[in-house]
Every structure is written in C-alpha cells, then in structure tokens.
Amino acid sequence: MADIFAYVPHKVGVVEDIAYEYPDAAAKIDTGAAVTAIVTGTGADLDKACETLTGYYKEVIKVDQAELSYPNAEIIRKVLVNIVPAGAIVLAPHDTFGMDLAPGLSVKMDAGYAADIVDIEGTDGSDLKLVRQELGGAVSTHVTCDSSSGAVLTIRPGAFTPAEDASAGGSVTDKSGDAGDLSSKRTFVEVVEAEVGDVDITKSDVLVSIGRGIEDEENIEVAQELADAMGAVVSCSRPIVDAKWLEKSRQVGTSGQTVKPKVYLAMGISGSFQHMGGVKGNPFIVAVNKNAKAPIFQVADVGIVEDILDFMPELTEAIEDL
C-alpha cells in the first residue's frame, strides 16, 4: 500500500484534535502503513507542534517558512505538492481549512479525492473502501476511491478514535528547504473575531435549540416561552441565523458556539454533523422532529416524533402547571 501523509493544522503550536484521529484512519486503510505527519508554520509554535506530534507519529515532517505563519491553504497546497511523493495518500481534516485545501490539492497531485470520510473499511487492490454520508446525514454511502495515482481524503473530525498512547518516539525531518515557491494570488489580511451577543448560550445548563423546523420568525416566541418555563436559554442551528431571525452568537455548531449543557433540546433540527459538532460534554439530548427518519434520532437520548409547533406550547403549559 502507498505511504500515508497526514497534514496537521495547529494554532499557535497546539495541534488540532484531528492529529490524534489520523492514526486510526490510517490503520483502517492498512494496519501496516507508515504514517507521516506534515506540519507547517514558523518558529517556536511550529517546534511545539512537532514535539507533540513525535509522541504519536514515528515520522514528522516540518516546513518552517515565514509565509506559513498563517495557514493560507493556497500556499500550503503548493508546499504539499512539492513535499509529498507522487502516488501517496494524503489525509486532511474535513473542516473549513481542509475544504479550502484538499480538492485543489487532489487536482495538482493528479490523485483521487473523497471528502468527509466517516469510516474506512480497508482496501480492494488500489481502491480505498470508504464510508461517507449524503443529504445532511440522512443516508450513508459506501464509496471506492482509486488510489493508484495517489489519493486525498478529508476526514470528518471526531469520526475516528483518538490515539491515547503518546509513546511513538518519532523524529522530525526538516523539509523547509523543499517548500518551493510560496507566492500566492490570495493574501491573508486578518481574522475578524465573532461578535459577542446579548446572551451567552455557553453558560446555560439547559438549551432549547431550534432549527429550520420552527418555520417562521414569529414562532421563535413559542420556543422562548418554553425556555422561560424551564429556566433555559434559546439557541439555534445555522439556518435560523442565516435568515437573521436570531443573532449569530446563538448558533450552535462548528461555525458557531461550542456548548456543554446538561440538557439539550433539539427542536426541529435534523442533526447535521456541523451542528452536532458544537454540542459537547455528552449532554442529555432530547430531539423533537416530525420526520421519524431524521438523523438527529441516531444521536439523541430521547426522541419524539411530533410537530414542534404543537408540542412546545403543550410542554410549556405542562411545565408551568408543575
């Protein structure tokens, strides 16, 4: 089988969690595969990331260049094309960085591409046998990806088992000199931090979270009344923020807030991984959805098939009568 290279993003030297999940993904391709971590950046932050990675990878490649101090995917793509040998398998995270980097990388490497992999079932000749999801998680699919001229896979964060044993005792190879041309027609300017809203949903133990099933801006009141009765706070999925019905600071998910409540009521939310990616700390999840097949029922503790617009007012009343 081909060698496997795992690109590890980091923030100021702290590697992203995906770094611990790649080894499981790689072992599921081929238990004997050599997995090399690649990390880019500059200075002490980069060295700190390397030090962490040597605990989990036998080989770590670092590329230290001032231009790489911020992870501009356009530049990192060029570096990877220079560093990764032809025919290799490259792993990247399926997140806002990996989505920026990986599709174009597969073109430049002339390699196969498969996105958002949630499981791997080994190989069949040069075909990788992969599992992914479609339609917001409503259905899963088996796909094959021909890796005979290499492959680029993006791995869903959290889908593979993180490594715990940090005793790999790996070594770092400095390939800064092989980075090549680092010019780009896209220049990073700055990161604008998310605005702080009027309510901090991360501070509440109980969240009444509404999704597209709320159907209309006026119906948000119904959820607010339930939240008031429970002493809870209203949070939401992304479409509610996109429609400007609630502030961005109320959004739960990978591109919103990470919450760790005790109880999470998902009202009319389908349960996409980007939404559930913001629900941490293993809360008690209650899902109310009118579609009995909604993916949220696979991750919820308790499921109720009802119309939330009828159900929420009745629940509010029952709680007020307690």
Binding site: A73, T96, M99, D100, A102, G104, L105, S106, V107, G112, Y113, A115, D116, L135, V139, S140, T141, H142, V143, C145, S184, K185, R186, T187, F188, V189, E190, V191, V192, R212, M230, A232, R238, V241, D242, A243, K248, S249, T254, S255, Q257, T258, K262, V263, F284, V286, K293, F297, Q298, V299, A300, D301, V302, G303, I304, V305, D310, F311, E314, A318
Partner: protein, 262 residues
C-alpha cells in the same frame, strides 16, 4: 464584471423523507422533491448584487439532465441573465473531478472575471469549486461569507472559519469562490418571475460541443465511485417516546427532572 455561477439540482432535504430503493443501490427517487442546492441560491444572489452595483452579466450553468433546466430557469427568474445546460448521457457517473472538468470546458469558452459555486451540495463534498480553481490555475477561496470589489483586478473576501470567526483575504481576479449560506438574503422568486423566463432559450451543450473526452469526465474516468446507499445503525439510537402527546409530555418531564433539565 462577468460572473459565472455553478448551480445544481438536488433532492430537497427539508421536503423529503429518504427511502432506499428495493436494491439498496440508490434512493427511491420516484417521489422526491428537487430544488436548487441551498448554497447556490446564495451564490446567485451575491452575483446579482455585484452586477447590480458594478455592471456586467450573471450566467448560471449546471451539469445535469433535462430536468435540471428548471433550476436554471429559477435562477434566471431571480435575475441571472443567461443559462447554460451541460448535458450528455456520457456525463453520467462523473465524480467531482468529472463535473469540474466539464465546467472548466464551458468556462474556457467564455471570459469570466469571477466564478462562484456553492460551498457544498447534496453529497456534502464541497469539492467542485476547489477542483475547478486548480484545473483553471486560478486562485480560490472557500466558504466565502463576504465579498467587496476593490477594483478591476482584485476583491476582498471574508471566509468563514471555525467558531464564527471570519478570515479576511485579498484575492486577484479572475478567481473561483465557494459561497457559504448567510452571506446575503436570497430574493424570493414568485410564480410570476418563473413565467417571465419560461420561454427564454437555454442552450444545451454536450461532450462534443465542449470538446471534453467522455472517457475522462464520465463514469470511466471517475476515480471515486458510489457503491451503494445504506442507513447506518449508529449506537442504540434514541429511546422513542410514544403514546398520546399528554403521555409523551409526562414521560419527558420525568426524564428532564432526572437529568437536571427542570
């Protein structure tokens, strides 16, 4: 500014309960409701707003079958000036690179300053935009949630990154951007708007018109292939509360009390 927007006709996740066909190798597509991919409406709206402000034209293009024409008409009812349908039996079974290869051929037959895609479509891949950019050797930015035109040769774009933060970039034109939801509020398209464009001619182009090789962009060239669909058994799944609404509420309240929800 000449803007091309790639759009796709997809099963509507809000309107459908998905079932597998009896062979389990596809969805049961008979009664599926289709619409324009949610992300693509934001891309078309953004293109229209830029052209309203700076002048130019918006062209919408899709790779699909005859029925895909309806999504082009819908986007033209929104305000796109032209539509092009790329359709050929030989395109069936194309993977992301195949689709990007077909789109590339169409793009090279015109002259565009800006090419927009949605951030992702029904398959949740988010791949076509990045592939297209690499094939065209143009700069790319994904998950764009803000665009400001600086001058004829460059624009400022905001990318959505984790935690709701925004990464600001300057990018040279021409370029390819994938558009994230929330960048604007796509305008409503009424039945009247659809009627207005009902008889507009939409050119259809096949493999030979585009000069693409079906062995490369079609099923034979696809390195990534879907084998089947299935519904996973994930863990134990939720305990489903059943009975009358009253009974359900009673059971739920007991559980909420036990778990600290009340």
């Amino acid at each position: 500014m000449e803007i091309l927007v790639c759009v796709k006709r997809v099963p509507d996740t809000a309107e459908n309960e998905f079932e597998l066909n009896s062979d389990g190798n596809d969805l049961d597509r008979d009664d599926l409701v289709y619409s324009v991919n949610e992300w693509d409406n934001y891309a078309v709206e953004e293109a229209i707003q830029i052209v309203d402000d700076k002048g130019g034209n918006v062209t919408v293009v899709t790779v699909g079958d005859d029925e895909s024409e309806e999504v082009l008409r819908r986007e033209m009812a929104m305000g796109a000036n032209n539509g092009v349908l790329l359709s050929d039996d030989a395109f069936e079974g194309a993977d992301g690179k195949g689709i990007a290869g077909i789109l590339k051929a169409e793009i090279e037959s015109g002259k565009y300053d800006l090419i927009l895609t949605g951030a992702q479509a029904d398959e949740g891949a988010g791949q076509v935009g990045g592939m297209l950019a690499a094939m065209l050797d143009l700069p790319y930015a994904s998950l764009v949630n803000k665009i400001e035109v600086i001058d004829d040769s460059k624009i400022s774009v905001g990318r959505e990154i984790e935690g709701g933060n925004q990464e600001m970039n300057e990018i040279e034109l021409p370029c390819v951007l994938s558009i994230q939801t929330g960048i604007n509020e796509p305008r409503y398209v009424g039945i009247r708007g659809i009627r207005k464009v009902a008889s507009v001619e939409i050119p259809v182009k096949g493999a030979s018109d585009l000069g693409v090789d079906p062995a490369v962009v079609g099923a034979d060239g696809a390195k990534t292939k879907r084998v089947d669909y299935f519904v996973p058994e994930l863990g134990d799944g939720a305990e489903m509360l059943e009975g009358s609404t009253e009974e359900i509420i009673e059971k739920l309240i007991e559980k909420l009390k036990a778990k600290g929800g009340l």
